[in-house]
């Protein structure tokens, strides 16, 4: 899996590409942990190019959103991890595991970034 990072003023966009399984999921966790350490708790994950996700990837997503939401930032809203674009295979895993209702999901990357 490749993870690329784009920094906006108030939001960080991480674009995931390839397979997120037990071997690669820690890579995403490292990226997210690094952002949290810099006090950046507003993250959009663009999944448009993610081909595959297994439960270790789901675990990283849920733990990241829990931690981000626990942060009360000074602006109107606190932190969050939001999702942009859900390819069919990823959506199917989200639906099977009840993840669809756990996340704010946007069909457009800029909408997701602008939602903060």
């Amino acid at each position: 899996m490749d993870v690329s990072h784009k920094k906006f003023n108030r939001v960080d966009l991480l674009t995931l590409e390839g397979r997120m399984d037990a071997a690669s999921a820690p890579q995403l966790k490292q990226h997210i942990d690094a952002l949290f350490e810099q006090g950046r708790y507003r993250i959009v994950l663009d999944l448009a190019k993610l081909d595959y996700i297994a439960s270790p990837g789901l675990r990283v997503l849920i733990e990241a959103r829990k931690r981000a939401r626990d942060r009360k930032l000074t602006d109107i809203e606190g932190g969050d991890v939001r999702i942009a674009n859900l390819p069919p295979r990823i959506k199917e895993v989200f639906d099977l595991t009840g993840f669809t209702s756990l996340f704010e999901i946007y069909n457009d990357t800029l909408d997701a970034v602008g939602s903060f």
């Binding site: 037990a22 071997a23 595959y52 297994a54 439960s55 849920i62 939401r69 595991t97 009840g98």
Partner: protein
Amino acid sequence: METLTVPATLDALAHISAFITDATTRAGLDEHAAWQVQLAVDEAATNIIQHGYPAETPGNIDLAWHIAGGDLIVTLRDQGQRFTPEHVPAPDITSPLEERQAGGLGIYLMGQLMDSVKYEFDPVQGNILTLTKQIALPTATQVFELAGRLDAVSTQQAIAQVSAAIAAGTRHILLDLARVTFLSSSGMRALLLVRKELLAREGGELRLCSLQPQVREVFTLTGFTQLFALHQTREEALRAFGQSSA
């Protein structure tokens, strides 16, 4: 039976994936079913790697697959800690974020993705996990265009191709009669034989479309409108496949 033995480490997941891709391709699974098997085996192997063996002394995972009785059967064996599925609580997939637990999702997914999941323990062989996926029959629809006068001889010739498709596993067959100008009683008999041949098979559906008025009249006069699914257009007929029996 094909087999693969890998060390129970995360690096092995890619080898396992390739091994399973080969299995699903050779079993003729469609892309969706292939992905389901891929994910289920990935989850099973991940559980063995992360929970079965102590991290400092990983053992092996023995994988095998074979095809039997229309099923693709994949087994994973390991000599790690005995696994008791009853001790893993089913995840609550409806609770809100704050209460949501990320554990147990792998086992849950396996059950959702496969037709059966069976755990066994053998004192010698260790944990044996058997994952089964039914190999679905091909459901692609084949359209045959018949033309001209359908008498005994010409219908037989046209029908030979259809019979070959049925023998090759096609279960949805559409006969487009738009260019058929005449249907004799022996032509009708040949159509009945094809219908019988197809309906004898699980999931078989025969549909006819675009009948000219004089051909439709033959069906009406013989009362065979009841026996055949007749459609005005090809599009309508294609949409009807898989919706109800025909």
